[in-house]
C-alpha cells in the first residue's frame, strides 16, 4: 500500500533560507545520556511550508526550540541566511501550542509585545500590530482581553504577535492542538491564507497527519527517540488548496503513506514510554 508511487515535485526555485546541519541534542541526567535528536540536516527554502510529524516524544518540540535558539545544540548548526543562530531574535518567531497570551494585556498590547521587547518606535509598531490583527481576522478586537476571547481567537492573536516582529520564518509548535476539530479546520485554512498573503516561510510541528499534508509543501517524518529524519514527502497538491482537497484520492494517498511511515515509530515510542514507566517503579 505504501509502495504506491507518489508524484514527484519539481524543485522549488527559491533560495534556501534555513540551513540545518547535522543537529544533535542530548541531555545528561544522573550521569545517563538521553539522546533526543540525532544528526538532523534539513534545508528550508524561502516561502516554503514544511511540517514535521512523528510519534510523541520524538523530539519535534525540542527541534523547534533548537532552531529558535531557545536552547543550545549538543552539536551541529542552524543557519538563517548564512548566519548561525545562537539565541532567540527577531528573524525567527515562535508560535507556541498554548496561546501564551499575557492575561493583563489587551489584544493589541499582546500583539506589540515582540516589537516592544526588541525596541523601536512605539507608534509605528502599534500600526503594524493593528495590520497584523486585521490580517488574522481580528480587526476591532484591539481592546479585548484574552479571557474575553475564544480559543480560536486567542490562537489568532498568538499568530499575529509572532508576525508583528516581521520574522523571516515562523516556527509553529502544534498551534491548533488545543482547539476543537471544527475550529482547527478553520484555523488551517486561515493559516494557509495568511501564508499566501505574506509569503512567510513556516516550519510547522503537528501530530495530525492530515493537517500536515493539507498545509505543507513538504512533510518530514521523524523516527522515534532519538529523533532522526526518516522520510521526506513532497506534497504536490495544487495551490490554492480548497478544503475539499482533503477528500480527494491523492490526499488520502499522502496521508496513508505518511501514516504507514509513522506507524512503526509510534509503536517504538510507546515501547520506550512503557519501558521508562516500568523503570520508575523498579
Amino acid at each position: 500500500m505504501s509502495a504506491a508511487p507518489l508524484p514527484r515535485a519539481v524543485p522549488v526555485a527559491s533560495r534556501p533560507l534555513l540551513a540545518i546541519d547535522s543537529l544533535c541534542k542530548c541531555y545528561f541526567k544522573h550521569e545517563t545520556k538521553l539522546e533526543i535528536l540525532r544528526d538532523i540536516s534539513i534545508d528550508i527554502r524561502e516561502g516554503e511550508f514544511v511540517s514535521i510529524v512523528g510519534a510523541s516524544g520524538c523530539g519535534k518540540t525540542t527541534f523547534l526550540r533548537l532552531v529558535d535558539g531557545l536552547i543550545g545544540a549538543t552539536s551541529g548548526t542552524v543557519r538563517l541566511d548564512g548566519e548561525v543562530i545562537t539565541k532567540p531574535g527577531s528573524k525567527i518567531a515562535f508560535v507556541f501550542q498554548q496561546d501564551c497570551l499575557l492575561p493583563w494585556r489587551t489584544v493589541l498590547d499582546n500583539t506589540i509585545l515582540g516589537p516592544e521587547i526588541q525596541g523601536g518606535d512605539r507608534k509605528s509598531f502599534r500600526k503594524l500590530a493593528r495590520d497584523m490583527l486585521a490580517l488574522v481576522g481580528l480587526a476591532g478586537f484591539d481592546g479585548h482581553y484574552p479571557h474575553e476571547l475564544s480559543g480560536g481567537m486567542r490562537q489568532r492573536v498568538n499568530i499575529a504577535r509572532a508576525l508583528a516582529v516581521g520574522p523571516d520564518i515562523l516556527l509553529m509548535d502544534e498551534p491548533f492542538a488545543a482547539l476543537d476539530a471544527q475550529t482547527r479546520v478553520i484555523m488551517q485554512t486561515e493559516l494557509m491564507r495568511i501564508c499566501r498573503e505574506t509569503g512567510k516561510t513556516v516550519l510547522f510541528v503537528t501530530h495530525q497527519i492530515d493537517e500536515a499534508v493539507y498545509l505543507s509543501d513538504r512533510v518530514l517524518v521523524f523516527t522515534a527517540r532519538p529523533g532522526r529524519l526518516k522520510e521526506e514527502v513532497r506534497i504536490d497538491l495544487p495551490r490554492p488548496r480548497e478544503l475539499a482537497c482533503k477528500w480527494t484520492p491523492e490526499f488520502a494517498r499522502y496521508t496513508d503513506h505518511i501514516w504507514h511511515s509513522i506507524e512503526e515509530e509510534v509503536r517504538a515510542s510507546i515501547g520506550i514510554e512503557m519501558q521508562q514507566r516500568a523503570g520508575t517503579r523498579a
Binding site: 532567540p88 501564551c100 492575561p103 493583563w104 516592544e116 521587547i117
Partner: protein, 265 residues
C-alpha cells in the same frame, strides 16, 4: 416593572453582597433579641442600640475621635511599612536563591511566633508611644505580604516566560513584562491578608500600655465594666476590617479582571 427594579437593585448591590449584608442584619437582630430577653445583665452583654448610643455619646464628648485617629495612624504606619518591606524583600528573595535560603528560617519562625509574646519587649525597647505599636503591627502584617510576593514572583507560568524569551527578551525585561505583572494578584491577596492581621496587631499593640486608641478603649472600658464602650471599639475595628478588605478586593478586581471571569462579572 419588576425586572427593571430588580436590575436597579442589582446595580446598587450585586447578589453576593446583598447576601452578606442580609447575614449581618440577621446577626444584628439576634444580638438585639439576645440582649433584651436572654442576657439581661448590662455587664455581660448590651443591646446594639445601647452600643450605638454609647458611640454617639463618646463622639459628642470628643473622646472617640482621638481613639480612632491614633489607631488609624498606627495602623497606617505599620501596614504601609509592612507593605513596602514585604514587597521589597519579596522581590529580593525572588531574585536570589541564596538570600531566600538564608532568611527562610527566620521568616517561618517569626511568622508562626505569636507576636503578642513580643509585645512587652517592644514596649521596653521603644517605649509606650506610637513606635512600639507600629513595630508590632508591622511584624504581624509583614509576613503574609512577603510570602505571597515571593510565591507570586517564583511561580510564573513557564510557558509565558519561554514565549517572552523567544522574542529575545532579557532577564530584566522578563521580570518587568511578565513576572511582576503576573505576581500582582498574589501581592494584592497578600496585602489583604496583611490588612486583617494589622487590625489584630492594633489591638494587640494597645493591650500593653497605651494611652489612647481603639484597643485602649476596649481594655479600659472592660476594666470599668463599660461593656457598651467595649463593643464600640470592637465594632469600629470590625467595620474597618470589612472596609479595607473590600477596598483591596476592588483593587484586585481592577488589576486582575481575568481571575474573576468565573464570577460572570
Amino acid at each position: 416593572m419588576m425586572a427593571a427594579s430588580r436590575r436597579l437593585v442589582h446595580f446598587v448591590m450585586p447578589a453576593s453582597r446583598a447576601q452578606g449584608v442580609a447575614s449581618l442584619l440577621l446577626a444584628a437582630v439576634l444580638w438585639e433579641l439576645t440582649a433584651r430577653y436572654l442576657i439581661k445583665s448590662p455587664i455581660l452583654f448590651v443591646p446594639l442600640v445601647a452600643v450605638f448610643e454609647r458611640a454617639v455619646a463618646l463622639w459628642q464628648a470628643g473622646e472617640l475621635q482621638p481613639h480612632i485617629w491614633i489607631s488609624f495612624v498606627e495602623f497606617l504606619g505599620g501596614f504601609l511599612m509592612a507593605s513596602v518591606v514585604g514587597v521589597a524583600f519579596g522581590v529580593a528573595f525572588s531574585c536570589s536563591r541564596l538570600l531566600r535560603n538564608f532568611f527562610e528560617p527566620w521568616v517561618s519562625m517569626l511568622y508562626s511566633t505569636p507576636i503578642i509574646a513580643l509585645g512587652p519587649l517592644f514596649i521596653l525597647w521603644l517605649g509606650i508611644g506610637i513606635g512600639s505599636k507600629i513595630a508590632i503591627i508591622f511584624l504581624t502584617a509583614v509576613f503574609p505580604i512577603l510570602i505571597n510576593t515571593v510565591t507570586g514572583l517564583t511561580t510564573t507560568e513557564r510557558t509565558l516566560i519561554e514565549m517572552t524569551r523567544s522574542f529575545g527578551a532579557s532577564q530584566a525585561q522578563i521580570y518587568a513584562k511578565v513576572r511582576l505583572p503576573a505576581a500582582l494578584p498574589f501581592i494584592i491577596a497578600g496585602l489583604r491578608l496583611g490588612v486583617a492581621r494589622a487590625l489584630v496587631g492594633v489591638v494587640v499593640a494597645e493591650l500593653f500600655g497605651a494611652r489612647a486608641g481603639l484597643g485602649f478603649l476596649i481594655v479600659s472600658s472592660a476594666q470599668s465594666f463599660d461593656t457598651a464602650g467595649l463593643f464600640v471599639g470592637v465594632l469600629i475595628l470590625a467595620f474597618a476590617g470589612i472596609g479595607s478588605v473590600e477596598l483591596l478586593k476592588w483593587v484586585e478586581r481592577r488589576l486582575a479582571p481575568w481571575r474573576f471571569q468565573e464570577d460572570g462579572q
